[in-house]
Amino acid sequence: MQEFNIVTTDNGVTAGNGVVRNGSVKRDVSKKTITVAVAGNPNSGKTTVFNALTGARQHVGNYPGVTVEKKEGSCSHRGHKINLVDLPGTYSLTAFSVEEVVARNFIVDEHTDVVVDIVDSSNLERNLYLATQLVEMNVPLVLAFNMTDIVERRGTVFDIEKLSGFFNASIVPIVGTKGRGLGKLLDAIVDTVENPRVKDEHTVHYGDEVEEELDKIKPLLASEHSLGEKYGSRWLALKLLEQDKDILDKGHSQELIDAVAKSVQHLTKVTGDEPEILVADRRYGFISGACEEAVTNSVEIRHMRSDLVDKVILNRVLAIPIFAVLMYGVFKLTFMLGDPLMGLIESMFEWLSAFITGLWPIGAESAIKSLIVDGIIGGVGGVIVFVPNIMLLFFAIAILEDSGYMARAAFIMDRVMHKIGLHGKSFIPMLIGFGCSVPAIMGTRVLENRRSRLTTILVIPLMSCGARLPIYVLLIPAFFAAKWHGLVMWLMYVIGVVLAIFCAKLLRKTLFKGETMPFVMELPPYRVPTLRGVLIHMWGRSWMYLKKAGTILLGISIILWAATSYPKPDENTLAGLSAEQAQTTALRYSIAGRVGTAMEPAVKPLGFDYRIGTALIGALAAKEVFVAQMGIVYSLGESNESSQTLREKLASNYSSLQGFCIMLFCLISAPCMATLVICKRETGSWLWALFQFCGLTALAYLVTLVVYQVGSLIIT
């Protein structure tokens, strides 16, 4: 009987054919699909190996129900098709974080044929902790000892056979970055399927006290048939003893729960430590023992080069200046390279608009034409134009991550972040927010704690992003004398940061109250990022942005276009008006205009009139649109931020205070649609995106209100 295995993507498409069978039957080795789960510590080079094995044949999705990225790919070897799933990098498989639970569940639920654990052999003992847990799970295991080049250089020698015996797994030395040993790795994978090893539950011994309690619990598991079969009763008993949240949540008989509680109490009393600590210590004991026998040379391999670099980068005096320079460099580069590309795309879209317009006879009014040119091209184009900048920011983030510098940045900044109630890892995403909120929000993935992550995501838009720049550039010279320009600009950024800190603190004290997760974080050794790795990283994220933001944005752009174009005033109303004036009237007549007018009493306390209100509605799509909308409102037709006439118009119509309030409102209020969409994606629900939208808008209203009212009082 032939057996097939399927891999389901998040779209529910099945690759391969057939149905998954439980348990093992005699396998027909010809033409078989092998499902491989690739696990490993963060920074073990797992992704590099995955990329090397799958190349372009990979795609990114999501694990169902959680905001954890799922990468799948495939390759073929010796006539077999191998489906690889890159599990999230984890230090262990206890239910500590979502990633760990996801990884564990995948191995158990998805009938993985082989688990490959990528082990950083220059960091052996800690990396073997995960391997030990995989051994406990009794899955067919292959250990890939990565970075053997570093290990060889140090003169450390592994007795592969002995280690293989200890861990009951095939061990293959590889160098992922150079592509060495990958063929042998694939061989090992296929061999493990074709000639499976004998399973041995008792590879790791947890000490007499714990073993005794395990023996007490195991018989009680007989009532939990399905779970026991799935996981193995020893493993299940162990997890219960460890008080594993995920397993406990699966529901058990009261008798079992009581017995476990008793055992836990007993162990804690006798040894002074909770069982989970005992077990963790035992695992390391097992590893120590194995290494003592099979590894020659001290296991304390020092990463000399990395340490030297850290002496400079984490130097008490130099660290922060270096950090500042690096960050400045990143932004400068992004905009230096990005702006010309932006210009290119802008021209491209202009050409496209002109071309489409040209398809209709000159002057002809057509709904479809307007829809395409103003709605679709205008709206979506306005977002696509930012893609070069976004891609460059992702590129920079990828380099920082892969090189290991990100962790250092978090290390340096944690003190400040902790005071706000956040984690050092929040700093870089917030910093990126000054460029664009989208990559910034996507960058919050590194935060393990959901509360920290949500808080960071919600306040990121307060970091004055690049799109608000045109607004400042338009308004500041209009209302303030030259000598104040720099100061006011700087003030906007500072206000944004201050509000972000305030909001973060507030959120942490109210909605996201709770103990901060431990900071405990590895400072991985520095590595030179591979170009391929960085590009794949960057492309994956950018494509996600385009796909998700693009599709939803299309819809919203069309809606907004409709709102600003319809209903149209009839011919009579427009008679005798110039083209620009006609535009203004049409705008006023449209839904957006009417809403703007209706809103006027609401925005008056802020110092706004209907014109500003209308423009703000248009700006919902993307902040830059505000400028264009203002132009239309003032009958100036096409305008951009350097339009002097628009400035003059504004100056004559509003006071400096009002001008400042406009900028303030734009700074704080809800971010562009793209941000909201990405927010939904990263938080997993529209609720949070909505909360962000309403919350920020409300905050903007409040702050502007106060500033305007108080300001008016002071000035008069």
């Binding site: 500590f96 431990p518 405990v520 590895e522």
Partner: protein, 251 residues
């Protein structure tokens, strides 16, 4: 406390010792008993008794029993004690046979300089009490002597390490107990326990910071927090508040 005896000659000390032991069993000593015990001529005994009498260590009257004065008793006891300690050292620490130990004690107690003897006595007491040594240690030595072949020190050390890691061994000197947060750069320590319960303790244990792990303090972040430590061959960063819960013995 150690009473510094006057500079009694070696032989006079022997006499005091002999009188002491005879008096122990018989109540008082007779000259001939002393002569027999020390294997000397009666005339020598007389001479010694004179000298001891002068020093007021013995009550001596011709043809009478000899007893020790209270002073004499004190000194005798001291001499006896010293002898006993040396004998114990030879018999119990160096593990030689009892009679050879006695012979050695007799010879040694007079010929080696006092300070050495006194220091040896102190050492004996130290070995008894110090947990680093103690009975196990001596036993190890005895086994070594008996075995005649050089034992593999490695094996023994491994089992000691295992025991130590299990926390069964007493903690070294109280002064060395501190926390990771109190270490200075380049200082090392061995983890004794983690004071917290729950997520942090578990996370630390999983990252390799468990009982018996060697940690080395590397640096502090520029703003004063967090800190960077080396454990199991890699760098781990922690907040000071987390580090303060990791109790170590400083090395």
């Amino acid at each position: 406390m150690m009473v510094r005896a006057e500079n009694l000659s070696a032989s006079l000390e022997d006499y005091l010792e002999a009188i002491f032991w005879i008096a122990q069993s018989k109540g008082a000593a007779r000259a001939k008993d002393i002569a027999k015990r020390l294997q000397v001529k009666a005339s020598s005994v007389t001479g010694a008794l004179h000298a001891l009498g002068e020093k007021k260590y013995v009550n001596y009257a011709p043809y009478d029993v000899i007893t020790l004065t209270s002073e004499g008793l004190k000194v005798a006891k001291k001499v006896v004690r010293r002898h006993q300690i040396l004998k114990d050292f030879f018999a119990e620490v160096l593990a030689v046979d009892a009679d050879i130990a006695d012979e050695g004690a007799c010879k040694l107690e007079h010929s080696i300089p006092r300070p050495i003897v006194e220091r040896l006595v102190e050492f004996m007491e130290f070995v008894e009490v110090c947990p680093r040594g103690g009975k196990d240690w001596i036993k190890g030595f005895i086994d070594q002597c008996k075995a005649k072949t050089k034992q593999k020190c490695e094996k023994c050390m491994n089992s000691c390490l295992k025991n130590f890691r299990k926390g069964k061994q007493l903690i070294l000197n109280e002064e060395n107990i501190t926390t990771v947060a109190d270490l200075k750069p380049r200082q090392k320590g061995v983890v004794v326990r983690i004071n917290r319960r729950g997520a942090i303790a578990k996370r630390l244990a999983e990252m390799g910071v468990g009982r018996g792990a060697l940690v080395e303090f590397e640096r502090v972040a520029p703003l004063g927090d967090p800190i960077d430590i080396k454990v199991k061959g890699y760098h781990l960063s922690l907040r000071k508040s987390e580090a303060a819960d990791i109790v170590i013995t400083h090395m």
